[in-house]
């Protein structure tokens, strides 16, 4: 113990004396394989050993290394070219960061380009690592300073093959196979990743104040299932107060997780409105795009042969942790004119909205915002022919809700 304390006391001295530290030249690290790096000077290593050994003894008492740490304030940058080279945080050490102390440290950045010369007979090169303070590195395994065999956890693992899994369950012997089988299913599998979850979400459920008659709009989705396979219902629609429902659709989809962010969805869509109603086979994807954009795209093949498309995206911009601004865009396309439903080919309509919601409770977030809708091409022509509006601005107020 006394010896150890002496050593601990000695440590700062060593640190302050480049002469000692010199001996820590890298040529003593035979394991340091740096291809292409020549280390011609093996000789100085021999004379270096005694000084290197002392710190090695220290390893056995890490408690003291803490003590040593605290008794080392005397280490000045002047005495040590690498004073700035604190190894304490070196786990993820970023050499570039050393530029923070260029003034004190002639070897800022640990310039390894000097390394070929390192360990050569020139004292200067060795000195370059004076501050490399190996003495206070308890875990540092340098083959040179520890002639004794490695023990315990220092030993490397072998490569014996793993035993094959046994098909039985040991607990069956104590508690009965039936009870355990039941417990494995109900207590183990179902309770550790096998649960069913559901969600019902209305991203939009709002009142729209606009010229030519206020209206309403909704856009929602519900799902139930596990992590990979889910049954999904989607619905959206809109109307004007005092008039019949203008648009309403429901989709029933099988949804399957493709990767961490995207779901493939396929199923049917049925439009209740406009008349005449249509039914489509649908396939689409839904997910989170890089940059946190919630994105959805789908193709619809109607029972009359027409093809429609839809792309939708929104982004939740947190203004604070309570107020969220959601820009949102939805565009619909058609591959052909469908006069019966008032649909023209090409881009049929576009909605762009900006909604600010308050997430006092995330499940029930009231919002206000603006929405701009417009029809295009033949779709707009069909609408005008009916004497209806082809779009415009609305002020909206609603609630984003889920449970």
């Amino acid at each position: 113990m006394i010896r150890a304390l002496l050593l601990a006391g000695l440590a700062p001295l060593c640190l302050a004396a480049p002469a000692f530290a010199q001996s820590m030249d890298h040529s003593m690290m035979p394991g340091m394989k740096m291809p292409g790096m020549t280390m011609p000077a093996k000789k100085p290593a021999a004379k270096a050993k005694p000084t290197a050994k002392k710190p090695a003894i220290k390893r056995k008492a890490p408690v003291r290394s803490t003590a040593a740490r605290r008794t080392q304030p005397a280490r000045t940058p002047d005495a040590d070219p690498h004073a700035g080279h604190d190894m304490s945080g070196m786990q993820g050490m970023d050499m570039g960061g050393q530029q923070a102390t260029p003034a004190q440290d002639p070897h800022t950045g640990h310039d390894m380009s000097a390394m070929p010369g390192m360990g050569a007979s020139t004292g200067a090169a060795q000195d370059a690592h004076a501050g490399h303070d190996m003495s206070a590195m308890p875990g540092m395994a340098m083959p040179g300073d520890q002639p004794a065999a490695k023990v315990g956890t220092d030993l490397p693992p072998g490569n014996k093959p793993a035993p094959a899994p046994a098909g039985d369950h040991l607990a069956d012997r104590f508690w009965g196979a039936d009870a355990m089988a039941n417990s494995r299913e109900n207590d183990l599998r179902r309770e550790h990743g096998g649960m069913t979850v559901y969600q019902i979400l209305f991203n939009l459920a709002e009142y729209q104040a606009r010229k030519g008659g206020d209206g309403y709009r909704w856009d929602g989705e519900a799902w139930i299932g596990g992590d990979i396979n889910r049954f999904t219902l989607k619905t959206e629609g809109e109307g004007t107060f005092g008039k019949p429902l203008e648009q309403a659709e429901v989709q029933a989809l099988y949804s399957r997780a493709l990767d961490p962010y995207w779901n493939l969805q396929a199923g049917v869509r049925h439009d209740l409105k406009p008349n005449p109603s249509r039914t489509y086979a649908t396939v689409g994807i839904e997910g989170l795009a890089p940059g946190w954009f919630e994105v959805e795209g789908a193709l619809f093949l109607s029972d009359k042969g027409g093809v429609l498309g839809r792309a939708e995206g929104y982004y939740d911009q947190r203004i604070t942790n309570w107020f969220v601004l959601q820009p949102r865009v939805e565009a619909n396309f058609s591959a052909q004119d469908v006069p019966e439903t008032g649909t023209g080919s090409g881009l049929t309509d576009l909605e762009a909205g900006l909604r600010l919601r308050y997430e006092g409770r995330r499940e029930f977030a009231p919002y206000i915002g603006v929405s701009w809708e417009r029809q295009f091409g033949d779709t707009a022509r069909f609408t005008r022919a009916r004497g209806d509006n082809t779009g415009g601005f609305s002020f909206v107020a609603g609630v984003r809700t889920w449970f």
Binding site: G36, P77, G109, D187
Partner: protein
Amino acid sequence: MSRVLDRRQMLRGAGLAGGGLALSAYMPAWAQPVSAGIAKPLPTVSGADITLKVAHQMMMIDGRQSHAIGINGTVPAPLIRLREGQNVRLHVVNELDEETSIHWHGLLVPFQMDGVPGIAFPGIPARSTFTYEFPIIQSGTYWYHSHSGLQEQEGHYGPILIDPKNPDPVQFDREHVVVLSDHSFHHPHYLFDRLKKESGYFNRQRQTLAGLLNGKDQSLKERLEWGKMRMDPADVADVTGSVYTYLVNGYGPKDNWTALFKPGERVRLRFINASSMTTFNVRIPGLPMTIVAADGLNVRPVEIDEFQFGPAETYDAIVTPPDLRAYTLVGESVDRSGMARATLAPREGMAAEVPPLRKRPLATMKDMGMGGMDHGTMDHGAMNHGAISGAAGSMAGMDHAAMGHGTSTDTMPGMDHSQMNHGAGAAASGMAGMDHGQAQGGAMAGMDHGSGAMPATNGDQMAGMDMGGMSHSMRDFSNAPEVKKGPGVQTISPMPVDRTGDPGQGLENVGHRVLTYRDLMALDRNPDTRAPEREIKLHLTGNMERYMWGFDGEKLSENPDPITLLHGERVRVTLINDTMMGHPIHIHGHFFELVTGKGDHAPRKHTVMVQPGGTVSWDVTGEEGDWAFHCHMLYHMHAGMMRVVQVRKAGEAAA
């Protein structure tokens, strides 16, 4: 016994609540007193026959009533005090209308007494009694909790203290058990359900536009880079102080549980993290702590000012308060969204200043498993960064300050140059241009002295350091051939490093001594010092968006093969964290020796925190049985982050 406050306490509480109102405008919520301090010791049971009744109950937290599942009417459950060498019979009476169980966390028991339904036994059915019986062959600080559903979150946990047969090498005048936990006034299924539907639900400390405009947190460029990767650096804890009240021995911060001492006494504090989801930063401002035991087993004393511990870990610390004054014991949630608070005082009713919560940390590139990359010196032009191409700006997340350049001469644990094999691709010419001083060290980009911190035996982790074709894609399965590709794996750490020398997320620059695993060294020689016969690599994987968690990309519900060991076989297990969250990994029925360069005095633990994007290796000797192995974040386990470890005698194992 009962946690229902008696009349006198109620009156006192009411009086103080009045005072508290007056103060409330000036004091943060956790500092508003409800009581002057409650110096009640934990109810204790002991002996050879112990009865534990599991039942619904109400409990008072900071003057508010909450439902709980407790044992013998208390939360935490009563302290079970045993003596090494005794036999114990524990009669568990289940008064619930659902199945329950008790797992003896850290106790070495025959596997069929281990208490995990579906692995060790079939559980304890509703309204029935089950008797556990086993010999006590160890001593130290442990705990027990339900392994059924999410009951643990509801209060079904308690401390175990086993006095040693031989004289305790740790001298102390007085001891206190300090059980830290997280309590929600919501049902745990509600919490889990929210996480499944919106994983960031409980995080009210995310980065915001207002923050950006005020120059807080990441720069715009960094935010865009992280956004591109769909990673949220503010995602430090899944369930936070927005819905948790952090407890000490069942008391809220305003209750102010108080541990008494006389000045000059050596006080042994037995810290148990019995929380479901909370990693705590523990400190007692003004009072250094000397860690003397980790996970129940003695370690060489090491003096520190703060330590971080994950759910299920325990530390014993000696403190010697010198003065006749009160000290505040702070258990701060890792994301700094709240704190558990207690007081050490010479008498009941004293209190010390409660420090404010510190700034919450943000995840860094190292937390994403890029610890092995030296971004400061990388030539971004020459390398394939995958998603983060050319993102020099995003590297600011790397904590340069943590390196403390030019300040202290700290130890550099585990730096092992002999293992710095720079990979097969390291052509001689590649090294020629190696110049760490300049930003053009591209040819040597992977060389990072940080990676030198890898344990001596893990040189092969450097395999990813192929100078030629280094890919830093955040989801490159060639970096983890063991992992099953699927939606459950959001990221693969491209260059994970051993982080046992790190103090824990957010504690790199706190200005005082913080415990790391590398500070720990077993007091006694390890019982098994053989070299491991093989290595098992396990990846901790997850998808924060879908709230999926598993090992090697598989959830327990998917019926993955068990991890197989032979009885008596010595194996090295290397855990690679491919996620951006810390995971406390626990193996039942075993202690393992951490590989931190401590040879045959490696610290022995039952639970180890694998830091974000980091690795941990440990050696373990197989003990016959089927054992649970899981992340001790309750909702991670519930989401599937669990495996069965199957240990069989050589003759009985399948060929």
